[in-house]
């Protein structure tokens, strides 16, 4: 189930609804995320999606994609390697690389890839299994 080496994959769509939802809730309207002219002047193809949208996808992964709902997140860290754009499809690949039965902990390493199979982000997360 949640054993050492177990790997999980899930694809997410960086849709207009996701983008607008993030904007509406968190109100980060920095021009990098909202002004395509500004973004292009800074060297990006178009407006860049907020990096923390990927953290939202991780929240869904932890809460909804694992074999059990008895989970709580302890910590996560993420490094953003490439920009993500509106309309991208990102695939999360996460592997359990540490198990502590004593503490009911599972630690994952993960990567997000875009539809071109370019790695856009990577990191680690740790969850606890609730009794």
């Amino acid at each position: 189930m949640l054993d050492q080496g177990a790997t999980f994959r899930h694809e997410f769509a960086v849709s207009e609804a996701v983008y607008q939802g993030f904007l509406g809730i968190f109100n980060d309207r920095n021009p990098l995320h909202t002004d395509s002219t500004f973004a292009q002047q800074k060297g990006f193809r178009s407006v860049v999606m907020h990096g923390n949208i990927l953290n939202g996808f991780l929240s869904y992964f932890i809460g909804e994609c694992l074999p059990t709902k008895d989970v709580v997140i302890h910590k996560q860290e993420i490094k953003f390697h490439r920009p993500v754009y509106l309309g991208d499809r990102v695939t999360l690949e996460a592997t359990i690389d540490e198990v502590s039965e004593a503490m009911g902990v599972r630690a994952f390493k993960f990567k997000f890839y875009n539809q071109e199979r370019e790695m856009v982000a990577m990191g680690r997360l740790q969850i606890g299994l609730l009794a």
Binding site: H74, S100, A102, M103, G104, V105, A107, G128
Partner: protein, 80 residues
């Protein structure tokens, strides 16, 4: 590994994980004696001790420890 060496290394883990250079562990030390040692810190401490000593505890073992000293005794035994 001798008890004193284990205690010193465990002390190092506490200093790093809890980010407090003033921690000095004794045999009788419990979480009540260390301000930063809450439930989440406890998880991180056990994980890091498992990594440092390349050992694994069971839940039953962890639940039995009354203080740092008893945990160190168990580590000495596992390394023997």
């Amino acid at each position: 590994m001798a008890f004193e060496e284990v205690l010193a290394r465990v002390n190092g883990v506490f200093v790093d994980v809890l980010d407090n250079e003033d921690i000095v562990l004794k045999y009788e030390t419990t979480s009540a004696d260390v301000e930063e040692w809450d439930s989440l810190a406890h998880i991180e401490l056990v994980l890091e001790i498992e990594r440092q000593f390349q050992i694994k505890f069971t839940l039953q073992e962890i639940q039995v420890f009354k203080n740092v000293g008893q945990m160190c005794d168990a580590i000495v035994e596992k390394l023997a």
